[in-house]
């Protein structure tokens, strides 16, 4: 029996309205308040019942803030959970902008998750970008400022494409409510492109690998969780079973791992592996069977936890040492063993080692590709599984905590950061060993057993022999050395392309300006002056020239002793002015 009846409120409201109070609180009250908000959000979620809630009439439509079903609830739980972990990690940050941005960001992700109509979806969608960009800008470096501007510009473009799609789609269907959309017609294509940009689907991904490594230590943790996964949710809602997504998803799992191998910034390695992991989810959504959707959703759930754990451990290293590049780090296990352990738990989870969370979710997507007989996709996904262990599983911990000793002797991060990582690490292991609770909240009934002998051994072989390749290549010196360098990606087209565009535009503009200067400043006044000095003489000169006569040089000089009376030029002037007066009178009557 429930003693206290509590009416539930839209989950987004708790976070967004709660965020507004943060700047007015101080010290421990503030910390307690910030930690309490996600808890309140979670308690609120437990009271929510399946169905449609919080419907607000708007013009002739209804805005639905609460489409509650199993699919949206999974994402509601994980977004609330990760905001608690992220806030615990960030609690000591003395920067209200970051805290407010993080809460509004989390609220926006929840808003997207529970939106039942296009209007609220679009508003929360834009809010995702406009709140998260402050987590980049708050780094307060020139690089972060620039990356933030690129980030927001790309998202504005994506948002406008989405808006165009929504307008077309709504005008066709006549309702702003949405559910399954599927690819049919221009509107749905534009909507898909808008969603795909936030899901970092190739070639719309480089905003992610550009901005995340420049975000603040704590901001990157939030960013790794919300933007791409809310897009995964919305794709699972609106485009399940879209065959195109199978192929773009499979491609997404494969191409980032090459970049991750040669990237130098650890958080950029993690950003590439984030795209790789989202690829598994997109692929599962494309397959669209119940098992595949379950796989995609559960993988999003696990992924949010272990990816934030990896970003937290990399963030701890950045926070304690001020360095984040492979070339600057190494040997940190000596003084940061706990962080190293947490990092390795995250690495084992993302690599889908048996007994870690990735194993029980990613394998569902791969198994779904098996049952659908997608041979090429299956091979690509297995390749990507081996590859992700290679870069995120081995490279990240190896070059930060082991490898060549950098001589840095940084301490463990503060207790709250360790605690946040500890909770995430615990969940990674717990879900890996006891997948049943997670399976029970998935959209469809789960008929899948991850722990079979052949699956465990097969996966271990895949990973361990991938590791063998790493060890042999490192020992033989063939492994690509870590270099102080960056690698070009699709963002080259707008980062260098925009300069080219500006070069072309300024070239054209400068050409027009030069021409105008020549015409209006150099030539026209000279000829006008000559004309005014000798009105009739000018015409006779032109007449004589066209007749082939030579004009004496003296003719172009002003002639005081002209044969034409002065009154003629006065007559010309009066005539010209009257024409002007007539024209203006006609134009502006």
């Amino acid at each position: 029996m429930r003693i206290i009846m509590i009416n539930s409120v839209p989950p987004a409201a708790i976070f967004i309205i709660g965020a507004l109070f943060i700047p007015f609180l101080k010290g421990k009250t503030k910390s307690a308040f910030m930690l309490f908000l996600p808890v309140l959000g979670f308690m609120n979620l437990l009271h929510v019942t399946v169905g449609t809630h919080w419907v607000v009439p708007f013009l002739n439509h209804s805005i639905i803030f609460g489409r509650i079903d199993k699919l949206s609830m999974v994402f509601g739980y994980i977004f609330t959970l990760i905001s608690f972990i992220g806030i615990l990690y960030a609690i000591r940050v003395e920067d209200d902008i970051q805290h407010v941005a993080a809460f509004v960001y989390a609220g926006a992700a929840l808003g997207v998750t529970f939106a039942g109509d296009f209007i609220s979806l679009y508003i929360f969608w834009e809010l995702l970008a406009f709140s998260s960009v402050f987590l980049v800008w708050s780094r307060r470096t020139q690089k972060a400022l620039d990356a933030g501007f690129r980030y927001i510009l790309v998202h504005i473009v994506g948002g406008l494409i989405l808006l165009a799609g929504i307008l077309i789609y709504v005008s066709n269907t006549g309702t702003i409510e949405f559910d399954y959309i599927g690819l049919s017609g221009l509107g749905s294509w534009l909507i898909l492109i808008g969603f795909a940009l936030n899901a970092a689907i190739f070639p719309l991904h480089p905003w992610l690998t550009d901005a995340y490594p420049e975000a603040t230590v704590t901001g990157a943790v939030f960013m790794s969780a919300f933007t791409t996964k809310s897009a995964v949710y919305i794709l699972a809602r609106t485009f399940p079973g879209t065959e195109l997504l199978i192929w773009v998803g499979a491609f997404m799992t494969a191409f980032p791992i090459f970049y991750a191998v040669i990237a130098n910034d650890i958080r950029r390695v993690l950003a590439y592996s984030l795209i790789n992991q989202v690829g598994f989810m997109v692929c599962g959504i494309g397959i669209g069977t119940q098992m595949a959707i379950n796989g995609a959703v559960s993988h999003a759930f696990c992924h949010i936890i272990y990816k934030s754990l990896l970003f937290m451990s990399a963030g701890s290293v950045l926070y304690m040492t001020g360095k984040i590049r492979c070339t600057d780090l190494g040997g940190l296990y000596k003084t940061m063993p706990i962080t190293a352990l947490f990092c390795m738990i995250g690495a084992a989870s993302i690599s889908a080692f048996p007994l870690f969370s990735g194993f029980i979710s990613k394998s569902m997507v791969i198994s779904a590709s098996v049952t659908e007989n997608l041979v090429i996709v299956w091979f690509v996904l297995q390749f990507a599984s081996a590859g992700v262990f290679h870069h995120a599983g081995i490279k990240v911990p190896f070059f930060m905590f082991f490898g060549e000793d950098s001589g840095i002797r940084a301490k463990e991060p503060p207790l709250n950061m360790l605690l946040a990582m500890g909770i995430a690490a615990f969940l990674c292991v717990f879900i890996g060993i006891f997948p049943a609770p997670l399976y029970s909240i998935l959209p469809y009934a789960v008929d899948y057993i991850p722990y079979t002998a052949s699956h465990v051994v097969g996966q271990l072989q895949l990973l361990m022999f991938g590791a063998l390749a790493f060890i042999l290549l490192i020992l033989s010196g063939y492994y690509p050395a870590e270099l102080r360098a960056i690698n070009l990606d699709i963002d080259w087209f707008y980062r260098k392309g925009s300069r080219f565009l500006i070069y072309v535009l300024t070239g054209i503009a400068a050409g027009i300006a030069r021409f105008c200067e020549y015409l209006f400043i150099q030539q026209l006044p000279r000829h006008l002056a000559a004309f005014v000095k000798r009105p009739i003489g000018t015409f006779t000169d032109v007449y004589r020239r066209t007749g082939g006569e030579k004009v004496p040089a003296s003719a172009s000089k002003p002639e005081l002793a002209t044969t034409i009376p002065t009154g003629v030029s006065v007559l010309f002037a009066i005539g010209f002015l009257s024409i002007l007066a007539f024209v203006f009178a006609m134009l502006f009557r």
């Binding site: 791992i257 299956w378 390749f383 051994v457 072989q461 895949l462 361990m464 492994y479 690509p480 960056i486």
Partner: protein, 81 residues
């Protein structure tokens, strides 16, 4: 002075770690013959398929990544120029 872990400073320990790793690999290869296979695709049941595929995947990953680096690598201040 904060205490430090130095376990891998000793080359012997690194060697021990590698031996354990190699033994584990060998064990995985042996176990493969004694477990029931229930893969959907025929090659999933082939002996040591995943070991071979995992190894080849990672070697080809490195080869291709090295080639990719030749094309896309730039100086760190490339975009600032």
């Amino acid at each position: 002075m904060k205490r430090e872990l130095k376990i891998f400073d000793n080359p012997k320990n690194v060697q021990r770690f590698l031996y354990i790793f190699y033994v584990a690999l060998f064990a995985l290869l042996v176990i493969d013959f004694f477990i029931p296979k229930h893969g959907h695709f025929p090659w999933e049941g082939a002996p040591e398929f995943f070991a071979v595929y995992g190894f080849l995947s990672c070697v080809s990953l490195i080869f291709i990544a090295k080639l990719l680096r030749k094309i896309v690598r730039r100086d760190e201040d490339y975009y600032d120029k």
